[in-house]
């Protein structure tokens, strides 16, 4: 594969479109309600395996709501419910007999602000595996190292694994949270504006990391930052609110097309910075 890239030249995945990809997640006619209010309306998307899919759109258009529906984090909001279907590898996630714990294990999540637990770096990463019954010290050590390496954090923390996760810088904390999500070996990783609280250098590191991770994982990222969507993603879904204030996907295509030749006028206005 490519040699490791310097900070200044993030790798470009120009080949991603030409390489066919299986569908990892199929979202069919998904609507999300908070009591009577329809927050997201009739979304259908097919998410490619080992691809980065970006969800963009102005504030309040339901991007995060859509993302949080994908691993059923919305279940935690009182009064919320979903209609339609999300299918992960042929398995419907909102079916009755589905175990939410299993869904969240297979679909990990990284949040907008780094949220390490008030525990040591090691315990942060080991938290997930311990939940799923990994007890032996050597297995845990191995998993922690592997996850931290995958999150490109190992070299920075290898000598201080037992210091608090909160002692790290913001960018390191976010990579720790990524390592924590990786440690349970998910298939899909949801990222909710993962770099919006970070400085440009840390942001670039997260983006490079996404490029490395996508070889093994399917990534869906919500971002406010158009350049970020253009830099990192293979596919982009553009969301807007309709006249009932419900979020809809108005255009979904390869990122290159969304940014150079969008079909919808509103997409063009948004990505060229005319509003938003």
């Amino acid at each position: 594969m490519q040699p490791s890239m310097g900070l200044r030249t993030p790798p470009v995945r120009s080949d991603a479109e030409s390489v066919p990809s299986a569908t990892k997640m199929q979202i069919e006619n998904l609507s999300i309600f908070y009591r009577d209010f329809r927050a997201v309306s009739n979304v259908s998307l097919s998410i490619g395996a080992q691809r980065i899919t970006a969800i963009i759109g102005p504030s309040g258009c339901g991007k995060s709501t859509l993302l949080r529906a994908l691993n059923r984090m919305n279940d935690l909001v009182p009064g919320s419910h979903a209609e339609g279907q999300i299918i992960l590898d042929g398995q419907p996630l909102y079916a009755r007999n589905v175990d939410v714990v299993d869904v969240r294990r297979r679909i990990g999540m990284v949040f907008q602000r780094p949220n390490p637990f008030p525990k040591s770096i090691y315990d942060n990463v080991a938290y997930g595996p311990r939940l799923y019954g990994v007890r032996s010290k050597s297995n845990l050590d191995e998993l922690v190292e592997k996850s931290l390496r995958q999150a490109a954090l190992w070299d920075e923390v290898r000598d201080k694994l037992h210091q608090s996760g909160l002692s790290l810088s913001g960018g390191q904390q976010q990579r720790l949270c990524i390592a924590r999500a990786l440690a349970v070996e998910p298939e899909v990783i949801l990222m909710d504006e993962p770099a919006s609280a970070l400085d440009p250098i840390s942001t670039l590191r997260i983006e490079e990391l996404m490029h490395d991770l996508v070889k093994d994982y399917t990534i869906i990222i919500v971002t406010h930052n158009m350049q970020q969507a253009a830099r990192v993603s293979d596919f982009t879904a553009m969301m807007m609110i309709d006249e009932h204030r419900a979020g809809r996907v108005i255009e979904y295509n390869a990122t290159r097309i969304i940014f150079t030749n969008p079909t919808d006028r509103r997409t063009e206005d948004y990505v060229t910075g005319r509003f938003g």
Binding site: R105, F111, N115, G165, R180
Partner: protein
């Protein structure tokens, strides 16, 4: 600057200084009684404090010396027992109320604790008397512990609830997003993050319970000797203060002040110790710098 704007500025500045003076006076009014009480207790109590005061039993009127070791032991027993009974219930109920604020049971917990905290402690004493002393047919440390548990319960529940709510929801989300069940999230993430506040709640509850004299008259009753048997009556520090204070003897009045000083100092030390423990743990975890 014209005449009007200068006048307006003078007006604004004088309003500012008047308000500042009012705030300062209010702050002083709050702190002054505390300092006065502390100062007076130290002045009146310190002369009677000797090492023997902590090791000896009370002496009869007119016999110099003596101490409050029986009350120290009894207070430790009743407050400790009360805490052991109230802390698990109060903390768990507080967690429940924090996690399910709108659920009817959560509302009931909040309402119930508010009502309990409004019940005068002497009424609680009568309640514990009926509940424990009557069936047992005599006073005991056990009944003292029970009444103190009821007194501590609302404080424990409410502070736990407030403190759990203060934990950022992002921490909870982070754990749940890993597939952790809610109980595991609570024990492994929320409680450690809220520990500082929980300790505050426990300290408040202990301080309040340790100072209760009225319910002790119906329960622990008092005892001039050291008793370590929970089924038998014990002396407690506040009850001892009461006994000394209502007596007609100047000698005992001095001892009442000294006992009060011991009680205040004990609670202060306990508070400082708990704070240090939390601070030390927080520093280890990088919660404070």
């Amino acid at each position: 600057m014209n005449h009007r704007s200068i006048r307006r500025q003078i007006w604004r500045k004088s309003i500012n200084s008047v308000m500042l003076a009012l705030c300062g006076a209010a702050a002083l009014a709050v702190v002054a009684p505390l300092l006065l009480i502390l100062g007076y207790v130290v002045r009146e109590g310190l002369p009677a404090i000797t090492p023997q005061f902590f090791t000896a039993l009370p002496t009869p009127v007119g016999v110099p010396g003596g101490g409050v070791v029986n009350a120290l032991a009894g207070s430790l027993m009743t407050v400790g027992l009360g805490l052991v009974m109230a802390a698990p219930v109060g903390i768990l109920a507080g967690i429940y109320a924090a996690m399910h604020p709108d659920n009817p049971f959560g509302v009931l917990i909040r309402f119930g604790t508010d009502v309990i905290s409004g019940v005068p402690s002497i009424v609680m004493g009568i309640f514990a008397y009926t509940l424990v002393v009557l069936p047992q047919r005599h006073f005991s440390a056990l009944s003292g512990g029970v009444v103190l548990a009821f007194i501590m319960l609302p404080t424990l529940t409410r502070t736990t609830e407030e403190m759990i709510r203060l934990v950022p929801s992002s921490l909870r989300d982070g754990s749940l997003a890993l597939g952790a069940p809610e109980w595991k999230t609570t024990i492994d993430v929320l409680l450690p993050a809220a520990l500082n506040g929980l300790v505050t709640g426990i300290m408040l509850a202990v301080a309040r319970a340790a100072g209760e004299a009225a319910p002790m008259m119906f329960t622990a009753f008092g005892n001039p000797f050291i008793n370590l048997d929970f089924t038998q009556p014990v002396e407690t520090l506040p009850h001892m203060i009461f006994t000394y204070a209502i007596s007609p003897y100047g000698d005992w009045h001095g001892k009442a002040w000294a006992t009060a000083l011991v009680l205040i100092t004990l609670i202060l030390l306990l508070n400082v110790a708990a704070r240090l423990l939390v601070w030390w743990r927080g520093r280890r975890l990088g919660l404070v710098r």
